[in-house]
Amino acid sequence: MYSEKVMQHFATPQNVGVIEDADGVGEVGNPVCGDMMTFYIKVNNGKIEDVKYQTFGCVAAIAVSSQVSELVKGKTLEEAKSLTKGVVAEALGGLPKQKMHCSNLGADALARAIHDYETRTHGQHPCPHRENQTAGCTQGCCDTGEIS
């Protein structure tokens, strides 16, 4: 059912763990089956110097987190932000149809971690849906991690 690549990642997931002094942390719960993924990033010079994650989820979810961590390590924040679930699934050699939603988890958690980093460092919220620095997000995207 799963591709070779998925099985490889699952058997030896890369970059598992916690970065204690992370620059950004992003956590998502999977609304479909109720699992959870947390990404930690360390940023240096606009690049993701280190990335780690924790995953409570299925084989696909674990493989996705490992794949995402590999895809973004060393990349600029802009590059990392452009990561989509489609890219992740493709890098994994495809995912079974009913497991496609798991590939969201990885991209979403990473996006939240970057969002967290940007909020912290710039002292400002990069969300385009707020009118000024003090007002809240008007579209709700900050609650779902959908930062574009």
Partner: protein, 390 residues
């Protein structure tokens, strides 16, 4: 130690060599259709009826009370749709329980679009249906109830139900009672006369018969509309050319299942308890699901906190251990198992569902191997789980 430790006998069982041997002649040599009017056909019909007697013997029924089906699911559908359609226009309620197999629940739900009401009996935290809930509904309006269906044993949590009490209650009110015994027949003694049921579902692959076999017990004179309409097979109650080799497999497996059942159960209970005790000792934060005593002999089921079942099953299979899970991620619907939900298990806990179902080929050494590997696998998964705090 054999290289594979298979502990998913609730999902599938291998067919024994003597069962295969018994089936073989009926594929090519004795292949006549049992409905034909010449000697070869009568012989085939005779063979089918011999198997009917063997299956009947396994559950203390009469041969003419056994209908052959292609699965436990079909037997459940036939029991429910067949008996409910038989009183169509006169009754409009069906009662079932919160931990039934999909084939029971969805057969009942099918009638909702025909205007029926379906009442679902709750279960307690160990999965047991308290007859008092049934009593209350029946006391209210038994005359509307077409059928009550409560399973005999649950394959996911191992719990056995108070079928005798439930059936007696139904009969007190003149209501038909069905039990899905797919998980129990062949594995524990099942006596339809003791149970007092009107309809009882049998699944072949649950006890070493080939896939594609099942049967329905229906007490003499129970009215049943066919599920598969058509010709005269099974005395008009189930059309389609009889699966003669499959039926021979079912009959042979039924006879084998009667041999030394008590000894087999004792052996399985010992293995099961060794497994349950060991897991509880070695894996922290584990919940045993189902009833501690009223359970299937070879059945051990757990929810392991902070890990997900599909991932767990995968890692176990890499160690040669084959088990099952009711995790949402492993289900097609990607929803919490309705059975675990009915027990009140929280959704996150239910994600860690793992079910071991043993048979008599399993050994204490295999159990010990599982007890060695399971804690390691759980530790590995917990190490990467964001919800694990130790």
């Amino acid at each position: 130690m054999k290289s594979i430790v298979y502990m998913d006998h609730a999902a599938a069982t291998p067919v024994a060599p003597q069962v295969i041997e018994a089936m073989l002649p009926f594929f090519d040599r004795e292949f006549a259709n049992p409905s034909t009017v010449y000697d070869l056909g009568f012989k085939a019909k005779g063979v089918v009826d011999e198997q009917r007697a063997r299956v009947a013997e396994l559950i203390n029924a009469e041969p003419e009370e056994i209908l052959f089906t292609a699965s436990g699911a079909e037997a459940n559908n036939l029991a429910i749709k067949g008996s409910v359609f038989a009183s169509y226009g006169k009754k409009d309620r069906i009662i079932t329980s919160a931990i039934e197999h999909h084939s029971v629940l969805n057969s009942a739900r099918f009638f909702e679009r025909l205007g029926y009401e379906v009442a679902v009996l709750p279960v307690d935290a160990s999965g047991v249906v308290d007859p008092k809930h049934l009593h209350k509904i029946l006391d209210n309006d038994a005359s509307r109830v077409a059928l009550v269906s409560v399973m005999h044993g649950n394959a996911e949590i191992g719990t056995l139900e108070h079928i005798e009490a439930l059936a007696a209650l139904c009969h007190q009110y003149g209501v038909l009672f069905h039990t899905d015994a797919a998980a129990t027949v062949g594995n524990i003694p099942v006596d339809v006369k003791d149970l007092g049921v009107d309809l009882l579902t049998i699944s072949g692959p649950a006890f070493g018969a080939p896939k594609g076999t099942g049967a329905l017990y229906f007490r003499r004179n129970t009215r049943l509309m066919p599920l598969v309409h058509g010709g005269i097979q099974e005395r008009g109650r189930r059309a389609g050319t009889e699966n003669v080799p499959g039926i021979v497999g079912l009959g042979t497996a039924a006879s084998l299942a009667r041999n030394g059942l008590a000894e087999r159960m004792a052996l399985l209970e010992e293995l099961r308890d060794r497994l349950i005790t060991g897991v509880v000792e070695r894996v922290p934060h584990v919940v045993c699901t189902g009833h501690p005593r009223m359970r299937l002999p070879g059945h051990a089921s757990f929810c392991i906190e902070a890990v997900e079942g599909e991932a767990l099953i995968y890692m176990l299979s890499r160690e040669g251990i084959y088990a099952n899970t009711g995790s949402a991620c492993a289900s097609k619907a990607l929803k919490i198992s309705p059975v675990l939900g009915a027990l009140g298990v929280p959704a996150a806990t239910a994600q860690g569902s793992v079910v071991f179902t043993l048979n008599e080929t399993n050994t204490p050494e295999e159990v010990d191997y599982v007890l060695e590997k399971l804690p390691q696998v759980v530790a590995t998964l917990r190490a990467m789980s964001p919800i694990w705090k130790d």
